[in-house]
Subunit: 269 residues, 2 copies
Amino acid sequence: MLTISELASYAGVTVRAVRHYHAKGLLPEPERDRSGYRRYDAAAAVDLIRIRTLADAGVPLARVRQLLAADEEDFARAVEEIDRRLRAEIRDRQRSRERIAKLAAGDSLALPPEAVAYLGRLRGIGVPEAMVDAERDAWILVAAQLPGRMPFYMELKEQQLADPGVRELYRDLAEVIGWGADDPRLAGVADRLAAQFEAIPASAWDEEALPADLAALLDAVFLDSVPAARRLLALLEERGWTGWTNIRPVAGSSAPTGPHDRRGSSSMV
Amino acid sequence: MLTISELASYAGVTVRAVRHYHAKGLLPEPERDRSGYRRYDAAAAVDLIRIRTLADAGVPLARVRQLLAADEEDFARAVEEIDRRLRAEIRDRQRSRERIAKLAAGDSLALPPEAVAYLGRLRGIGVPEAMVDAERDAWILVAAQLPGRMPFYMELKEQQLADPGVRELYRDLAEVIGWGADDPRLAGVADRLAAQFEAIPASAWDEEALPADLAALLDAVFLDSVPAARRLLALLEERGWTGWTNIRPVAGSSAPTGPHDRRGSSSMV
DNA sequence: TCCAACCTTGACGCTGCGTCAAGGTCAAGC
DNA sequence: GCTTGACCTTGACGCAGCGTCAAGGTTGGA
């Protein structure tokens, strides 16, 4: 006959754990000797090892209890599922290893050098600081999610800045940040924006489209920080353009077909 | 500016988690807008991703807080340790997969057929049921730990039973179970046991020795279930033998050298 | 004006035990 | 017989990392 500590050490668990399994109904309470001590037989040791094998595999104790009472078929199905989960956890840890390795490599610098250079150019053009800050925050968000595509995006942005019309628009938009929601000048800005969207060849944009969730977030940031944003988007919609980060022609609109077939292109942030 | 839910969904966590990180001091509380809502900038998003990367790797939040404030050198050391742990967890899960696969294959049958046959032979020889039960429990414990060696052990036991002297001893020992701690007949049994130990050639035992912890457990079971056990072991020690499951000549004893060099052999259980 | 979808703080719930607390029991040594 | 140390008993609280109400205030669009 085994005492509780013998049983526990045999299965490599603590005495507390064995009592816990009793309390949870995983392991039946054994007979007591005359002093009230629990006395176990070898079958209890076998049961305990079974419990630990399942628990070590990450099965919750409540589920272990079910499985101990399950027939062979249900048990086999459960084991298959447990195995699936274990494989998934192994993959998760492998991904975690890669991610923390990148952290250690210092990849967490908020912005890559190309982006810093681009923001410097914006300042150089005369875009006000408030606008540059908004741009920086937006690009930080993008860089955190898609670091590999940043050189591509920045190259694209630099190309856009080569166009004097675009540079003009940036200065326009910077002013819009300070305007109220009903500023009469918004209509004029919307006109010029729409014209720009028309003028840019689709070929230069097609691969730029950001993932929908990231674009939605950036849109939300824009709407939250610029009072006139909502009104401006409404005006743009009247002119045949919907969205912002990923601006697109309004579906079914008679407006801008122009010379290009544009489906999902990205605006300015 | 981001709201809390935007920030959270950006990093793929819940709003509750973000607030938890504030409460734990992992993420600084941001400014509030006029209605008391938290407003985040992009830097908070970067911080949050850093936190999640570490937390996903299994780093406790309290440790994450330290690491956020650590210099590059300490951080690199920590990452190395985290990576070690991740690799260990992957190995654990691979072992778990093997173990539950065995469970599903039904390897958990308490005793292999050879052992059942052996217990049957004991009964056939006239060993009383109480003794057979004790043997069964002991072999269940061994089989759970060393399933691969069971055929070997059982083969050995069957060979021993071929000797009429051993068979006689088993019947003796079965009676001992019922004796008091000071039964006068114990000395005679000890004599016959010592003689048997002398007679068995060392070559037949040498590889049988059980791991020390398992042997200690089986000894404890013997001591706990047989009142006369402690006295019997004392008498055997007087005759030059120590232990029980793994019985050995007493070191420095003048007693049994016999024709064989015996170092660590296993008795009867 | 109303509704849905946000936001706020506070508090309890969950898992799988670890860790006291406050005792009773047992074997050994003096 | 008495002490000592290593066991055993039940009961209770503590821990991480949030999930999940509860009970409100805010915001934006219809």
